[in-house]
Each structure stands twice: as C-alpha cells, then as structure tokens.
Symmetry: C2
Subunit: 110 residues, 2 copies
DNA sequence: AATCTTTATCGTAATATTGCAATATGAAAA
DNA sequence: TTTTCATATTGCAATATTACGATAAAGATT
C-alpha cells in the first residue's frame, strides 16, 4: 500500500530507519560529503555543487534537516549548513555495535 | 519524476546510498536486529517474528540480499539467513571516517 | 504419489519519492 | 523603494515503494 506500518516496530527501530532513509539517496550523500570537504560549514554554494535544480536541492536539504543530519543557521540572506555530529555519532555507534556483535559470534554459521 | 539521477553522482556515492536505503525501513532494521539477536543465523522463523505478511517479509529479505546486507544459504527446504559482515564494515568505516573528520574541524563554525 | 512446509513471484492498490518549472519570500544592495 | 540574490514553497508528472492475496516452486514428510 506504499504506507509503512510503523506501529508494529519499536520507536528505536523507526528512528534508526528514518536516519538511514535520509541518507538513502546519492544526492543527500553528496551533500553530506560536500559539507565535510569544505572547511567548516558552507553558506550557499550547495546548489552549484550538484547537477540538480535548485528546488530539488532545497528539498533534499530539508529532508536532511528533518532527519537531524544537518543544521542550518540563517546568516544574512544566505543559510549556513553544517553536519550535526549527534546523528553521525548515532550511526557510527549503531554500526560499530553490529560489527562487535558479529565479531563475537564469528564462525558459528554460514 | 520519481527517478533518481544516479549518473550525476560517483559510484561510491550511489553504492553508499543503496546500502543506506536498504536499511531505511523499520522492517528491514528489525530483520537485521533479529538476525543479530539469535545465536548464529537463523533458518526460517523470520516471518513469525514480524507482524507482516509472508510475501512482504520475503520482499524485504530480497532487498536486504540485493543490497548485500544479508546472505541466504539454502538448507533443506528452508533458507538460512545471516548478516554479511562486509556491508556492515563498509558502513562502520564510512561513518567512523565522517566522525573523525568532524572531530578535526570542531568548533570552526556553527 | 499426495501432502505439508517454506519461501518466491505475480498482480495490484494505496501511498511515497524524485525532480523541476513557476512562484513566493525575505534580506541585502542599488 | 526598486532591484537583486539566495532559498523555500507549491503544484504536478513520472516513477518507486509498501503491503498483501493468490499462486507457484521445491524440498520434506507421510
């Protein structure tokens, strides 16, 4: 039906999935990598970096912001975007945890 | 248009996005967490764990397999699924790298 | 062989996502 | 104040995703 049954999962599972989903598009990965590549965070310029129309980039930025992956500070008539470390840490810890868990039960199967 | 412009991004960006997209649904997060929670990998049982119909679970398993996040070994008339460490490692390293990068440029902005 | 069990596939309805042109907003510059 | 610049919002078309009933496929059990 195109509608996700969030009610049958835990809040933690739903939140994790939302974070992952926000990064589940190459444009949004490219935006995060661009924000990382420049010194500190960037005001403007993001649209020129991607071969996508301005409204499309704006929409991707909005999704990243909603997911908590980037923050935007208004700075004059431009907006200064940067990565929110908290979200990245959550992901780093999540995958680190899975990795550790897998290490423990290594060679028990497959 | 509903179609992602993969051709304007790097292969690495597209691949990372595909991995994240595969985990961008709570059912698929729940599947991965269930596979982790049981000792070694599990043959069958996955359908009973989730409050979703069998074809729906099968479809989610297929997506996780296509993305390389899980592997399935045929074992009699059941299938033994387990997590593919390679994909998890890729993501662990990816977010670890971003985290390190952010640490370096701390307090330069925002 | 007939049946059971497990997983996959097909078809389809409901909804979500992607992308962009047109337009709006709001601050700075002239 | 008019213009300019940067970003957001709206509306829409094309496509993708989610979910499931019906059914198929294939090995196991009787």
């Amino acid at each position: 039906m195109g509608i996700t049954k969030t009610e049958i999962f835990t809040q933690q599972q739903n939140e994790t999935a939302l974070l992952m989903k926000a990064l589940g598009h190459p444009a949004r990965i490219a935006i995060v990598e661009y924000l990382l590549s420049v010194n500190a965070c960037i005001c403007g310029d993001i649209v020129n970096e991607l071969a996508l129309a301005q409204p499309t980039v704006s929409q991707h930025l909005k999704e990243l912001k909603n997911a908590g992956i980037i923050k935007g500070n208004i700075s004059g008539n431009a907006i200064c975007y940067c990565i929110d470390e908290t979200a990245i840490d959550t992901l780093r810890v999540y995958f680190g945890g899975i990795s550790d868990n897998l290490e423990k039960k290594k060679k028990m199967c497959c």
